[in-house]
Structure formats: structure tokens, C-alpha cells
Symmetry: C2
DNA sequence: CATATTACTTACCTCACGGTAACTGACGTA
DNA sequence: TACGTCAGTTACCGTGAGGTAAGTAATATG
């Protein structure tokens, strides 16, 4: 029983809610919005692309393809379109042949990079602790 | 052409590498490790669980199931096991019947929460800008 | 006329993520 | 004897993320 949701009996209450009333949020559920935003932004390719653009400044498509280690053209395009739509990068098309398209971080994109900087730093200082924890866990079981 | 990798011609060089030499990393490729760590940690359920545990302190399984909004038992167990293995939570089993298992963040887990705090804050202050960018993008195309 | 170049689309296909629901174990209680 | 409780585990199954490879447009060059 207890399938996380949907039990035809009494819902037990007092546990499964986070904002049925008004609380004090400016929006109905800011938490959800923020969570959703983070989920979008914490995507693998987005993170990698963000970092590469942050380090190298303006880059063309093929340069990105080379620097974003392991990305396929399809995913790179998709990621860049997404980031453009979200306002993280500007996409500048130079009407020449062969095509020349340049990508640069916007201020918003750069601020996102800074925000993730602390996570990056955390990972740098703590990945050894994680590895140790994993080994310990493996031996425990 | 240019399928991101594997072209039998000259690899063009000067583009597709990040640490073929020694640089100054203590490990062969610290960047990859860190990226990998972030990817693991930036998982949807991990993030949500982390936040709930950060806000509520010690919780039992069913309490978490109620608070982590939308998680299935399967994913909750999986996430918690993962977090335990990584050293983010402690799992305390009280040998009683019915079972009682309590989860608490470790110091490492709490530090991770703090690191993500800046991202959380960023999302709070910038999600409107993102929405605006999206609307603008939609109208542009 | 064929080829190279850049920045993509598009079609196709696979596999792993994750949801649903049922089952387990050990005991107290009705 | 049947049921409820908690904390899972397991089997099954569908969707969709994402990889691969080929195609496209437009022109300069040999």
C-alpha cells in the first residue's frame, strides 16, 4: 500500500502538502518555480557550455563543438537554442558564406556562471570526501 | 560532415582537448571529476530531498515521501541510498516493529546545501528575467 | 563540374530513467 | 485469523533523452 499518492482511504493529512493555503509567497508556489528553474539550468550540457563560454568569451559553433567535450551537434544546437531562449547567450549571425555564427554570454548568463561557481568550488574541495564515503559504503555492505 | 568525433581525416587539432598535458592538476582531469560530481548532485530528486532535509532536520521515510512532493517510493529509496553512499545523509535504523528509519544530513550534505544556496538565490532573483527572455524569444521567432 | 566549408536539420533507433502497482517481513491488535 | 503499519523491494512497461548519420543551403575555389 501507500503508493505515494492516490489511496482511496483517508489521506492521513498533516503530511502531504506544501502550499494549499496562501502562506506568504508572492506567487502561488515560488518554490516550484525556482525548483523548475534550477532543474532546467542544472542540465549537463548547459552547465558545460556555460563554463566553456565563460572561460573563452565569444565562440563560434564549431569551436564550441570542439570545446564542450563529447557533445553532439544535435545537443549543442539544442542547448544553445535553449540558452538563447532563456536569455543566457546571444546568437550573432554574420551573413557570410560559409556561415559564421557567434555565441556570447549575456549578463544573465554570466551571473548564472557566478552562482554555480560556489557549487563548482564545493565539488573541487569535496569530491575526495565523496569518493571516500563511497568506498566506505561499499565495504559496509 | 564533422560528426563531433571520428573523422578519418586530420583532426584539425588545436581545438578538441582540455588537458592532454599536465597543466597543474593534482589528478589527470580534475575538471571531468568535478563536472561528474556536479552532474550527480544536480539530480532533481537529490536536490529536492536535500532541501527538505535541510529545512526539517531528521525525518523518517514516510515523512520524506510526503514532503518531497511527487517522488515515488522507488525514487526516494534510490535517491536516499545514493545520498547515503555519497556521504550526504546518515541512515539510522531503529530495530523496532513496525520499522523506523531516520535520515539526517551529514556535515558534507549540509555544506552541499549551502553551496547550492547561491544557485537557489540566483533562481529566485532571476526567474522573472528568464521568463521575460523567453517571451521575447518567442515573439522574435 | 566536383568539392570544401559552416551551421545547422532531420530521421531513425536505442536504452535507461522513472512511474505504477503488487509483494514482503515482522509484529501488535481486533 | 485477518488486518494494519513502516520501509522498503521487485517486476513490468512506456516515454523520451540523446546518439548516429545523412541531408541541406549557399558560395568560393580548383
Amino acid at each position: 500500500m501507500a503508493p505515494t499518492k492516490s489511496s482511496k482511504k483517508k489521506p492521513k493529512a498533516a503530511l502531504a502538502f506544501q502550499s494549499p493555503n496562501g502562506k506568504s509567497s508572492p506567487h502561488p508556489d515560488l518554490d516550484a518555480l525556482v525548483q523548475q528553474t534550477i532543474a532546467r539550468v542544472a542540465d549537463k550540457w548547459t552547465l558545460l557550455t556555460l563554463e566553456v563560454l565563460d572561460q573563452h568569451g565569444t565562440l563560434r559553433f564549431t569551436q564550441l563543438a570542439g570545446l564542450v567535450d563529447g557533445v553532439s551537434q544535435k545537443m549543442l544546437t539544442q542547448t544553445l537554442r535553449q540558452m538563447e531562449a532563456d536569455g543566457f547567450v546571444t546568437r550573432t549571425v554574420h551573413p557570410v558564406i560559409p556561415p559564421k555564427v557567434e555565441y556570447t554570454l549575456t549578463a544573465l548568463g554570466r551571473s548564472l556562471g557566478e552562482a554555480f561557481c560556489s557549487v563548482w568550488t564545493w565539488a573541487e574541495t569535496n569530491y575526495k570526501a565523496i569518493e571516500k564515503a563511497r568506498t566506505a559504503y561499499r565495504e559496509r555492505s
